[in-house]
């Protein structure tokens, strides 16, 4: 805004446009100040409760475990008590990489299944009558009214008689069940905004129902697919309650591994290292996804 007006002033060099551009600059700086003030509290919160603990965790990963949990003293005999032992441990044993890999597979499978189940449902809600949509959305988020653990325990009762309990199937079923609403909501929000005239135009120009979906609805819903996938994939990676309750001993995931280090093995440095590596892996994936899913120019 201010640059466009300043450009006008350069060309026309009229008194009025100069004054206008000065006003725009003033209001621009005022706007910046407001924006800065508004973003200050959340920034401080994130620095204090997210970045600082993450950095503490980085530090903890190089330290020694305390005798009864916690961390050993940083200084022993006047020397820094730091080592790369936990990293050596992680990369020295194939089992950790295997658990990481299994976790990524479970997260990928859960995300794909959620997408497959959520897409038709979200489309159905988005295309139903305006008055019915709120009710249907309410039904989607209704499970949140009862406690997460109770819902997972319910699966024990459901799966028990079929002898499916403590299997990878049970883990994935539980994961899909718990995370489905996180896929439905962003998809619905996206699909609901699509202009019905576009589908009508596509049909008019010769596109049958599959081609209308393939060429119009699907590409326009990519932002919804990406955000829904992120909302499912990332929490599933760190989830430990579901594998613990529904999975067998061979179904443990990174989340269980990390939990074990802190609560059972009292090896905080190894737990920190595992958390850190998981975070790095997720960030790397997110970076790739953002690049791949960046809405192309013109995407609604």
């Amino acid at each position: 805004m201010s640059s466009a007006l300043a450009g006008g002033a350069r060309q026309g060099s009229s008194c009025v446009t100069e004054r206008l551009s000065a006003a725009a600059r003033r209001s621009g700086s005022g706007e910046r100040l407001t924006r800065w003030l508004v973003s200050l509290p959340p920034t401080l919160f994130l620095l204090l409760f997210f970045l600082a603990p993450a950095l503490i965790m980085v530090g903890a990963s190089f330290r020694q475990p305390g005798d009864f949990g916690g961390l050993a003293p940083l200084l022993v005999d006047g020397r820094l008590n730091l080592s790369l032992e936990t990293y050596r441990f992680f990369f020295g044993d194939w089992i950790y990489a295997e658990i990481f890999l299994r976790s990524f597979l479970v997260a990928t499978a859960t995300t794909l299944l959620c997408l497959l189940l959520a897409y038709p449902l979200a489309l159905l809600i988005a295309r139903s009558e305006r008055g019915h949509r709120d009710l249907l959305v309410l039904l989607v988020i209704l499970p949140f009214a009862s406690n997460f653990l109770i819902r997972v325990y319910a699966w024990i009762i459901v799966l028990g008689p079929f002898e499916l309990l403590y299997t990878p199937f049970a883990v994935i079923a539980g994961m899909v069940y718990v995370h489905l609403p996180f896929m439905i909501m962003p998809l619905y929000t996206n699909l609901e905004k699509h202009d019905p005239a576009l589908l009508e135009a596509a049909q008019d120009l010769g596109a049958g129902s599959w081609k209308r979906f393939r060429r119009i609805t699907l590409p326009l819903s990519m932002p919804g697919i990406w955000s829904g996938s992120a909302l499912v994939f990332i929490p599933v990676l760190g989830m430990f309650a579901i594998p613990e309750l529904l999975g067998g001993t061979r179904d443990i995931l990174v989340g269980n591994l990390i939990k074990e280090q802190f609560l059972d093995n009292r090896d905080w440095p190894l737990g920190s290292t595992l958390s850190l590596l998981l975070t790095v892996a997720v960030l790397a994936l997110a970076a790739i996804a953002v690049r791949a899913g960046r809405p192309r120019r013109g995407t609604a």
Binding site: D195, A197, L198, E200, A201, A202, Q203, D204, L205, G206, A207, G208, K211, R215, I216, P219, L220, R296, R297, G298, T299, A300
Partner: protein, 361 residues
Amino acid sequence: MALLEIRNVTRRFGDFKAVDDVSLSIEAGEFFTLLGPSGCGKTTILRMIAGFDEPDGGVLLLDGQPLAGIAPEKRPVHTVFQSYALFPHMTVAQNIAFPLQMAGRNGDEIAARLRQALDLVHLEDKARQFPHELSGGQKQRVALARGLINEPRLLLLDEPLGALDAKLREQMKGELIALQREVGITFVFVTHSQQEALAISHRIAVMNEGRIEQVGAPEEIYGYPKNRFVADFIGTINLLPVTVNSVGEDGLRLSAAGLGEVACTAASGADAGEHGVIALRPEQLALLAGDDRNGFDNHFVGTVRDHLYLGDVTVYRIALDNGVVLEALLANSLPGRAKSLDRGDVVGVGWRREAGVFLRD
């Protein structure tokens, strides 16, 4: 055989008859316009031709074949939507090529025809841009190219100029006429603007409340409106109440209450004693100084009520002796006003017997 034949088509929405027993035939190569106020049923007809709606009664025939039951994507009919409905995630080229891809044409043919289409609507340099980067007029041209590229039997245009500003609309009118002439495809154009309809159509169907009031060339519709609705809807018109005195070889002898005899050539089968109005366009009236008839068949004296300076013309409202107010135009052929008439000035109003149309009540 007509390209499109609409026979006794009716479409009801509940108790409301959106289209009421409409019959029309549209010839190949025509630029045909459905004109009427909003809610008159013109868009419903368009949707039935496109296949988005089916009639409750009557038939639509394209090249003699009934259209009933054929899905919109299977009809050789394409539409230019009012909102353009360009696909926002596709480039201009991808948008325009879409119908060819849907028709399963091969890559070489698509490329060649895309080049032609881009050339036709002067968008060669915009091929890789996305719709949101285009101006209103450019979007309009993309929608036109997309509708024409697969050479439909019919191109339907649903108020395509409505979203453009006045200046651009004028320009697009010219482009539409040129485009239609160049591609030779039959256009069915829907509008509520009589100016658009008069300027671009070969033939116009004037609609009101689901019915067709009159079908004809623009000159016919404007010059010889069949009834009061058409007379009133198209342009400005003066209605002077009259009674038929006699019907003769040279037309009608009418009498206007409080004025005297009026001569009118256009007969339209009126009978003596009938009541009605004589409809006169403002530009058919001449303003005359004093008592000079100046050769006009009809001549009355009135008083200037008020005037409206519009730049190119000045509109005068003249009250006749019997209280009827007529509107007359004077072209301002030199800067300023053609005549310096003021409120209260007495002036003569004259018109030729060929000018008016008698419309019975």
